[in-house]
């Protein structure tokens, strides 16, 4: 058990701190500032696209999980943008590195990293959610083009994206996991319609995307025909549990503690109410457990030791915990907790209600809690799979 960092890593931390001291003013804030210039500066210093080969527009460093963590920690501490995110950078780039052709790597990775090419992800469909492999958007080869028809849903940045990486059914006769291919195409291709999908928070965080005879050049496929499921799973491997980040939760909890010092009922502060204190401490204990679990996962990654169950539970526990943290805040505020966008007395910009709902969305999205529990039971605990059912 050793929570200290080596001299090399401490030196690296100093470097990052020095960089931030010098340059943080140039970082974009609250949607203002030159995000692309900042991204280029970060790549040049190795604080973004750190381990992507230089040939493809990255910084080309050896992977070092602790250095990545140090970068994340220091940028968070300085409340400075850690560069661009999004599904192109976090999911497509690692996948192309693993499964893409040399041409695809050269064509797409650089512009994606620099922010010149924004991506969205075309996975889920109205009838293919938990059962993603049953997706029905089809692509039929016609001459040198795939002709794509169908509908996607939950496409988060479809209205902004330049391109889409998309799962389509190309082999209707094959078994369901083996008939899928992975296509890349421009969102400007004729036949694509994007409709915003308003959710319970009142905002269109997602879109529906409709394809009508969208023609995609034959070579814009990653992997081979019918290998799309394999490619998609290579992507899933790179999806992060960052939405349930325990450090974010801890800082959210601190914000709640501060709020409890100012909210009063009949002149008494919420923080002095033993029942609220007890609920706050219940949440605190659970957040600490997730934070220690996160430390364990980091350590396991650094030392390449297995911690599979500890990783599997993060999404389930983290999203539920965050939802409950927000629920506690609403109870603490009582009727003030009901206020939403546009109210003058709104607390913390209405973020408690918004996140209360948004994290319910996250409990559901990216594999519902039910699917998560199946995975934990079957892959984590080795319990027997459900027997095949007689199809009806």
């Amino acid at each position: 058990m050793d929570l200290s960092y080596s001299q090399e890593h401490e030196a690296f931390r100093s470097e990052v701190v020095a960089f931030l001291r010098e340059h943080a003013d140039a970082a974009p804030r609250a949607g203002k500032g030159d995000a692309k210039a900042w991204q280029k500066l970060l790549i040049a210093h190795g604080y973004a696209a750190r381990t992507i080969p230089r040939d493809y527009g990255g910084y080309g460093a050896e992977p070092d999980i602790l250095k990545s963590r140090i970068i994340a920690e220091e940028f968070a501490r300085a409340q400075t943008s850690p560069g661009m995110g999004g599904q192109g950078i976090s999911m497509l780039v690692p996948t192309l590195l693993e499964m893409g052709s040399e041409d695809q790597k050269r064509q797409f990775i650089g512009p994606t990293l620099s922010g010149d090419l924004l991506w969205c992800q075309g996975y889920s469909e109205p009838d293919a959610g938990s059962d993603l492999a049953s997706l029905r958007t089809k692509a039929v080869l016609d001459g040198d083009d795939w002709v794509v028809s169908g509908q996607k849903i939950w496409t988060s940045t479809a209205h902004l994206a330049d391109w889409i990486f998309c799962l389509v059914r190309t082999e209707p006769e094959a078994a369901k996991h083996e008939g899928i291919s992975f296509l890349l195409f421009s969102m400007k291709t004729p036949g694509i319609e994007v409709r915003p999908l308003v959710d319970m928070t009142g905002v269109a965080n997602f879109n529906e995307v409709f394809f009508t005879d969208v023609r995609v050049p034959k070579h814009q496929i990653v992997g081979r025909r019918g290998e799309g499921w394999k490619v998609a799973n290579a992507i899933l491997k790179h999806e992060r549990g960052s939405l349930a980040d325990p450090n974010t939760m801890l800082s959210r909890l601190n914000t709640l503690s501060e709020l409890m010092k100012t909210e009063t009922v009949d002149g008494r502060r919420a923080i002095d109410d033993p029942v609220f204190r007890d609920r706050l401490m219940q949440v605190h204990g659970r957040v600490l457990a997730m934070r220690c679990n996160d430390l364990r996962l980091l350590s396991a990654a650094v030392n390449k030791t297995p911690a599979s169950l500890a990783g599997m539970v993060v999404k389930l526990q983290g999203t539920e915990l965050r939802h409950e943290l927000e629920a506690l805040a609403i109870d603490v505020m009582g009727e003030f907790g009901l206020l939403y966008t546009g109210s003058p007395q709104l607390r913390t910009q209405g973020s408690w209600q918004r996140d209360y709902m948004f994290f319910l969305g996250l409990i559901i999205g990216g594999g519902t809690s039910q699917i998560q529990k199946n995975i934990i039971a079957e892959r984590g605990l080795g319990m027997p799979r459900e027997p095949k059912t007689v199809s009806t």
Binding site: A128, L197, M200, I330, L339, T341, I363, I364, G365, N374
Partner: protein, 359 residues
């Protein structure tokens, strides 16, 4: 011995239910949410014609002289349809206050108007169920000063306002010195607001006293509990229907044990709530010794079960439950609103504890 709804009560619920369904149900709430209307006039008019506004008003004043249990049954149906209409303030608390504390002439003047729906009353007494930000109303020399938060049925023509000492007062919405502010909450179906009173001329209800305020709060709490009962039942029904319809892995998701058990847990939690709301509604008029305690328990317990159902029914709907497409969030938010109004579950339980443990 009959612990069940009478035929008349079942018919009352059915009548209001059919009216709201024909008025568009969820779609009517959506249209209201889209903005532009201060009040849903069609609903207000229709409900007045059905006698809902005059439910509690005595027959001599043009009402039907029914009980608070009947009012709770209507609240349940309104919750079921997320009806964007005044009720708990306008048709329950204001008539109750006037009937119990108003002078003969006040009753003769206002009750027929409230019953007919030609006047809508907002009610400001949240401070008696926990004052936030030290809001309070003081009455001095026939004038009101101060601030009232979370006014029930805020879009009104007149207001019944409780002062700090337990007095009640009537003011007009256009009175000089009154500043009205709409407080936008998650529940867009029930306008809520703040009143700032800067020496507003008020008409006192001379018969008011702290015991009446207590009764008003008890009644209001049972109404919110009943509204949650209706809203939660509707969410459960929709979850069951969705689970029968929606297919994944080649079978209805409702055939998966996990989904089945989520629905069973909702039903197991919710079904006994129905009897609790009936009992609490009945106690308001018929069992004075139990009324406050059962009102607290109905409010708190329905808040907890409602929250569980709201979340679970949304989960059963998967991503669709998170979107605006099926509109499930209207019920979700209404249940969330009911949870906090007139005291969140924890506060209300502490009130219950004081009754039980001192008694």
């Amino acid at each position: 011995m009959q612990f069940d709804l009478s035929d008349e009560q079942a018919m009352l619920q059915d009548t209001v239910h059919r009216f709201l369904a024909e008025a568009g149900g969820l779609e009517r709430a959506r249209a209201f949410a889209a903005g532009g209307e201060a009040r849903a006039v069609d609903l207000a008019t229709g409900l007045a014609q059905l006698g809902v506004t005059g439910l509690l008003v005595a027959e001599e004043h043009g009402g039907s002289g029914l009980t608070l249990l009947d009012a709770a049954l209507v609240a349940e149906v309104l919750g079921r349809h997320v009806a964007p209409t005044a009720f708990i303030g306008a048709a329950v608390l204001a008539p109750m206050a006037l009937q119990r504390a108003g002078s003969r002439s006040q009753r003769d003047h206002w009750l027929p108007r409230l019953a007919a729906g030609s006047v809508t009353a907002g009610v400001a007494l949240s401070e008696h169920a926990g004052a936030r930000e030290d809001a309070a109303v003081e009455a001095r020399d026939g004038r009101l000063h101060g601030r009232a938060l979370f006014v029930i049925d805020h879009e009104a023509d007149i207001y019944v306002i409780a002062d700090r000492q337990g007095g009640l007062h009537l003011i007009a919405a256009d009175a000089a010195g009154l500043t009205r502010t709409r407080l936008n909450t998650i529940d867009v179906t029930r306008p809520t607001g703040e009143l700032r009173l800067d020496g507003v001329a008020a008409e006192p209800l001379e018969g008011a006293n702290p015991a009446l305020i207590r009764d008003l709060i008890d009644a209001g709490r049972v109404m919110y509990a009943a509204d949650t009962l209706g809203a939660a039942q509707e969410m459960l029904d929709r979850a069951v229907a969705y689970a029968a319809d929606r297919k994944q892995f080649g079978r209805p998701i409702g055939s998966f044990q996990a989904v089945k058990h989520m629905c069973a847990e909702m039903a197991a939690g919710l079904e006994p709530c129905r009897a609790l709301v009936w009992y609490a509604g009945h106690a308001l008029g018929a069992l004075p010794g139990e009324a406050s305690l059962t009102a607290c328990h109905a409010k708190a317990h329905l808040a907890e079960v409602g929250t569980m159902v709201a979340r679970t029914a949304t989960e059963v709907h998967g991503g669709m439950g998170f979107t605006d497409l099926v509109g499930l969030h209207y019920w979700f938010k209404r249940i969330g609103f009911n949870r906090q109004m007139l005291g969140g579950p924890q506060r209300v339980r502490e009130e219950a504890a004081q009754m039980v443990l001192s008694g």
